[in-house]
Assembly symmetry: C2
Homo-oligomer: 304 residues x 2
């Protein structure tokens, strides 16, 4: 069983240039919930000054559809965000820092150490309220400002996050430049220290290598992958901001490889289409096969 975590409502929608109406977001989440996910990242409690796209996080949280076996996660940047999230009765929160000092500074205006110090009070406050905590580490492979990131830098942050009480760490290829050898190198360092079921891969598909990286992760024992319906997330022209690996493309590969996920890829694809946004996933461009028209026409084009 592979756990695919749907990050579209948060990681996908936070990068849209236009404001999506709350009702449309909730419709998106409803359809995703119908698809059978165990976990959906619903929104973010980052200050609306920084992400106006998710300024309706309270309203979204108050209207999430209940489904047996489905947990919603919300992103919280700091204690203030956590308190707002707790007031909305969230089940699970995600915190985030980076493996690259420069990225931490640019993305959150604070050092990795300052983030970890904050988390030392934030995490117990969450878990003490019965809310579990997931940790994200951005730029685990390549940083848009520093370039190559050493796996040891990821290990240090990972170690601290688990010590502080997160139950899972999601390893982010934020700029989407990793290739399977990078996945192998990092996991070779982490897996002797942490159980595979506590690690997730959060891959972006900037260079088209996301599914190859998923394969390497699978081969090494990773069973949790973050993805975004439709491949939503970021403009391909913005540095380091390409979309997450598309949920339906990931589900296609996993299902055809014989893995079970419990998620219906067709419903996920429909959820993404209902948003009416441009979608980058391959499955959205896929023709129906076999194609009746082609059946009666000799092609003779030497296709292979």
């Amino acid at each position: 069983m592979i756990r695919v975590i749907e990050a579209g409502p948060r990681d996908g929608l936070q990068n849209q240039s236009e404001q999506i109406p709350t009702a449309k977001k909730l419709q998106f989440i409803h359809t995703l919930a119908d698809a059978g996910y165990q976990e959906i990242e619903a929104t973010s409690f980052v200050h609306p000054k920084w992400i106006p796209q998710l300024g309706d996080c309270e309203e979204v949280c108050r209207n999430l559809p209940c489904r047996e076996g489905l947990t919603y996660t919300v992103l919280v940047p700091n204690m203030k965000g956590l308190e707002r999230a707790l007031a909305c009765d969230v089940q699970r929160v995600a915190i985030f820092t980076a493996a690259s000092e420069s990225f931490s500074q640019k993305n959150t205006n604070r050092s990795i150490e300052d983030a970890l110090v904050d988390f030392a009070s934030l995490i117990p406050r969450a878990t003490g309220s019965g809310v579990s905590v997931r940790g994200y580490i951005s730029t685990c492979f390549v940083c848009p400002f520093e370039g190559e990131i050493q796996p040891e830098a990821v290990l240090r942050v990972c170690d601290r996050l688990f010590e502080l009480g997160v139950d899972e760490v999601s390893l982010g290829d934020t700029v989407g430049h990793a290739t399977p050898n990078d996945i192998e190198k990092l996991l070779s360092l982490l897996l002797p220290r942490f159980p595979a079921e506590r690690l997730a891969l959060h891959l972006h598909d900037t260079c088209g290598t996301a599914l190859a990286n998923v394969l390497r992760g699978l081969q090494m024992g990773i069973r949790t992958f973050d993805a975004s319906a439709g491949g939503l997330g970021g403009c391909p022209y913005a540095p380091g901001a390409s979309g997450n690996v598309s949920s339906e493309d990931l589900l296609y590969m996993l299902h055809r490889m014989g893995y079970e996920t419990g998620v219906d890829a067709q419903i996920v694809a429909r959820a993404a289409r209902e948003l009416g946004l441009p979608l980058s996933s391959h499955q959205q461009q896929l023709p129906q096969l076999p194609a009746p028209k082609r059946k009666n026409r000799p092609l003779k084009d030497g296709s292979h």
Copy 2:
């Protein structure tokens, strides 16, 4: 050392709806030759009634730029095509059939057996003239008309092609539906019979799995991959006609994984751009990193 065979001038351009001027094709091939390829599939001698896009194959052949260590291949459908190719002093030809009977009928108006019978006279005629022969097998995994193809069907055709005198067989995922387990299943059957250096993978990226499939092929010992600059080849809305895996995306992954190819990915990407056609490859959409503008702007968006 990985051998990447550039198929863009043939497999890419044969699927364009507009007629590309011969001079532009030759410019494309010139730039690809400058990139350092060992092998480029330059054109096809399929009758222009079926592929008007490559009706200028003779003119293209007569003007191919010579480069030390570079061989050009041309596609030939039958003896007549071979004779036309031989008259142009070609170095290497490629013949094609399929693993699926229905696809063979639709694509070439003849059965697999009829094709093999033709090849029994075509191949000796080519090799007797000092021209080597590559064999393509289409629909090695999924056929748009029959669905799943059994690896045994591929084995039978592969066996015959080698018996008849081809020096290499390229295994085509024509509709681009294969996933890494399909690659593994087929290669597990073929590799005990044929040396890995006689097999190539010819992958299309319809479902976004091409690079994951390349990875599985690499892991199993395959060292030759066909690709197309810019990911050219076919309209995403035409059933089974999506583009080849993009050469520059493939080269990016291979080079970052530490493999040598002798090919300059930047020059390949430039060759594709010079055509002025829409390109599907990830590398063509890639921003330059690090991006100076972003350096001075805090993002604070919780990106990972």
